[in-house]
């Protein structure tokens, strides 16, 4: 565990991202007129530099920074690289998207960068305080980004709904965190874990966890905190939707992995804790609601919104399986999801750039008018379904394998529900394909794609296919990211805290003895 001055070296990636935020804003202030390319280039340079800094300061072991408020370990590094890559791709995606970067390009990129900084903090939080702070950072930035579209009622409505739901979710989560703090007398995950393991009040821990899940569940859009998702995804500018559907969702899962792995004990009052049942119920509901609601959608962004809810359900299955198998499945899934989901949204942007809207009906005959865009969309949608020979297949495969490896009737039931859901999802993804390939277009002229969009599409479609063929490097990387996390080993923040934990457990023992 390092103090503030010594933590700075390991905190370099976040510092670079924060510095880039300021640089982008200041350069825009000094320049005479705003310029999309300049802001984007600065942002990209900052992101690449932060990625390089992450790789260069990587270590195979984990250690606490800033008196244990956050941790620097391979798991955090994995997520940091994932977020930086997501943001970089979103920069590419939004270059030509006028709805996002029309007037306030510098502010737009600065906001996405701040979101990334918040997500990086989320992935390394080992303290309730940093967990809440980073989650709020990501939320507040997302509210602004969702409302970024000019003169659009839907965009304003999306932002407002997002703010209101988000405020309620944060409040509920804070209440849960306050209960955990009340038990532990400290906000450190380790202290919370110790206190929860020793308290005789299982109901309190359970209530606190359910309340905390409101905040986390809101971030990953799991049932029953998913209601905001379709409206926000539809109303927000499409690059923002793409960003929100991948980045904050992955960050939410990073926090969930840390929360369940680092701050909750596996046993409560001597009995195994009911986390798998709790998570399993949420996962099953999330998958089913997401997939069934997607069946009825006619707007592509809404359809992908419900599909992203369903995907959060699949990843929750992996969280429910737990252990190193489950966490490996989560990481692998999130990588494949990054490519295929960003890709699907990019096709919508590229096609919208050429003048076709977001309704499925407008996509009729796209296979003939814009063959490459249609092929790319087909690849992304099949991959989202989880069909081989595409990366999405392995993503799902590892989730179900983790469930079956864990064994037990609950896990097997969940795997069956998951597989049935995948079958349902094929139906609505195939509807888009049917419109593109088997329905006659209203106009026949070909749709030219912008060169930038074509290149970015290739950049996303190639990994979606290639990851299936060359899977082992990714798996090796993910396995090395898991190395230190199991078994989790983090110490309380300071000696003083150690004492306070001991004191409170002694007090607990006394109070239960007097009863």
């Amino acid at each position: 565990m390092l103090d503030n001055a010594h933590s700075l070296r390991a905190f370099l990636p976040e510092l670079i991202v924060a510095g880039t935020v300021l640089a982008v804003l200041f350069v825009d202030l000094l320049a005479r007129r705003p310029h999309v390319g300049r802001a984007a280039a600065l942002t990209a340079v900052g992101l690449v530099a932060a990625g390089a800094a992450t790789v260069m300061t990587m270590r195979a072991d984990g250690y606490g920074l800033f008196f244990g408020l956050i941790a620097r370990d391979p798991l955090a590094d994995f997520f940091k690289l994932l977020f930086l890559a997501t943001n970089l791709l979103v920069v590419l995606i939004s270059l030509r998207a006028r709805e996002a970067t029309d007037e306030s390009a510098a502010e737009f990129f600065a906001l996405t960068l701040t979101t990334t900084a918040g997500m990086m903090l989320m992935a390394s939080a080992t303290d309730l305080l940093t967990a809440f702070l980073s989650l709020e950072t990501v939320s507040i930035m997302s509210y602004v980004l969702a409302g970024f579209r000019r003169r659009s009622r839907e965009s304003a409505e999306a932002a407002l709904k997002y703010v209101i739901y988000g405020g309620v979710a944060s409040g509920v989560m804070l209440y849960g965190m306050s209960l955990l703090y009340g038990l532990a007398g400290s906000t450190s995950f380790t202290a919370v874990r110790l206190a929860c393991a020793h308290t005789p009040a299982a109901a309190t821990v359970l209530l606190a966890v359910v309340l905390c899940l409101a905040g986390f569940g809101y971030k990953i859009a799991s049932v029953p905190f998913h209601m905001w998702c379709p409206d926000v995804y539809q109303g927000a500018p499409t690059p923002v939707t793409a960003f929100l559907s991948v980045g904050p969702k992955a960050a939410g899962f990073a926090l969930l992995v840390r929360f369940f792995g680092g701050s909750l004990p596996a046993e409560l009052v001597g009995a195994p804790a009911p986390w798998p049942i709790l998570l399993g119920l949420i996962a099953a509901a999330t998958m089913t609601v997401g997939n069934l609601a997607a069946l009825a959608q006619t707007n592509l962004k809404r359809l992908l919104a419900y599909s992203s809810i369903a995907h959060a359900g699949y990843v929750l299955l992996a969280l429910c399986a737990g252990g190193s198998d489950g966490t490996r499945a989560i990481l692998l899934y999130l990588v494949t999801y990054l490519f295929m989901n960003l890709g699907a949204f990019l096709v919508i942007i590229a096609v919208a750039d050429a003048g076709i809207g977001e309704e499925i009906a407008e996509w009729r005959g796209l296979g003939r008018r814009a063959p490459w865009a249609a092929v790319a969309m087909a690849i992304f949608l099949f991959s989202l379904t989880g069909l081989p020979p595409l990366a999405g297949f392995f993503g799902k495969f590892y989730v179900f394998a983790a469930l079956l490896a864990r064994g037990g009737s609950l896990m097997v039931t969940l795997a069956v529900i998951g597989i049935l859901n995948s079958a349902v999802s094929l139906y609505f993804y195939a509807r888009v394909l049917k419109a593109m390939y088997f329905e006659a277009p209203t106009v026949d002229e070909p749709l030219p794609l912008a060169r930038l969009h074509a290149a970015t599409l290739a950049l996303l479609a190639v990994p979606t296919v290639a990851l299936f063929l060359v899977w082992s490097p990714l798996q090796r990387f993910v396995d090395s990211s898991l190395g230190q996390w199991y078994p989790a080993e983090m110490r309380p923040r300071s000696a003083q805290l150690d004492r306070s934990v001991k004191r409170s457990s002694v007090q607990l023992a006394n109070t239960s003895a007097t009863k």
Binding site: D3, N4, S7, A18, V21, L25, L65, F66, F67, L69, I70, E103, S104, E107, A110, L111, T114, A117, G118, L121, L129, T130, L133, S134, E136, T137, I140, M141, Y143, V144, G147, F148, R150, R151, A159, Y175, L179, G182, L183, G185, A195, T199, P200, A201, A203, T204, L207, R493, S494, R503, S504, S505, Q507, L508, T511, S512, K515
Partner: protein, 172 residues
């Protein structure tokens, strides 16, 4: 019942003020009444902070929330056109469905609050400012600094949205 305990009396008084005015904020039909009821809530919370020995936090709550934010809210309410006349079309919908779960959650929370053996520490009546200052420059430096970035970007974001609204109306 034991003898009169002034500490407990003050606690329940402050808690009562806070909760009742919070209910007023949520239930008042007129948004102006809601804003005024917020005064009681915020002042009650400040009282609770002082009661628990957090002197700096209590004063900061008074200065910032009551002196700043509440006044700002009141200005916003008073200067906005026709905000009091907004017709809420679905006032009672969900009341019957929502009430039982709300009561159940409430009961659960109360039960948890009463039954849990909370580890207690004695409140030491001493100034907290020195300790707070140390914490902000020592073990809480990271959140303290990170919040400044968040607030800066929140301001920038608010400006982006407000500027557009102004431009649309032709105000520059």
């Amino acid at each position: 019942m034991s003898a009169f305990n002034p500490g407990a009396f003050f606690f329940y008084l402050l808690a009562g003020v806070t909760v009742i005015s919070a209910a007023g904020v949520a239930l008042a039909r007129n948004i102006l009444y809601s804003a005024f009821a917020l005064l009681g809530t915020l002042a009650g919370v400040a009282g609770l902070y002082l009661f628990l020995g957090a002197d700096f936090l209590g004063v900061a709550q008074l200065l910032i929330y009551i002196g700043g934010i509440l006044v700002l809210i009141l200005f916003a309410v008073l200067l906005t056109n026709r905000i009091g006349e907004v017709r809420i079309s679905n006032v009672s919908s969900g009341l019957i469905v929502g009430a039982p779960p709300a009561v159940a959650v409430m009961a659960l929370c109360v039960r948890v609050a009463l039954r849990t053996p909370w580890p207690l520490t004695e409140a030491v009546p001493a100034p907290t400012t020195a300790r707070l200052g140390e914490a902000f420059l020592q073990e809480l430096l990271l959140p303290f600094e990170f919040v400044s970035l968040v607030l800066l970007m929140a301001l920038v974001g608010a400006m982006v949205i407000a500027r557009r609204a102004a431009k649309e109306k032709g105000v520059r």
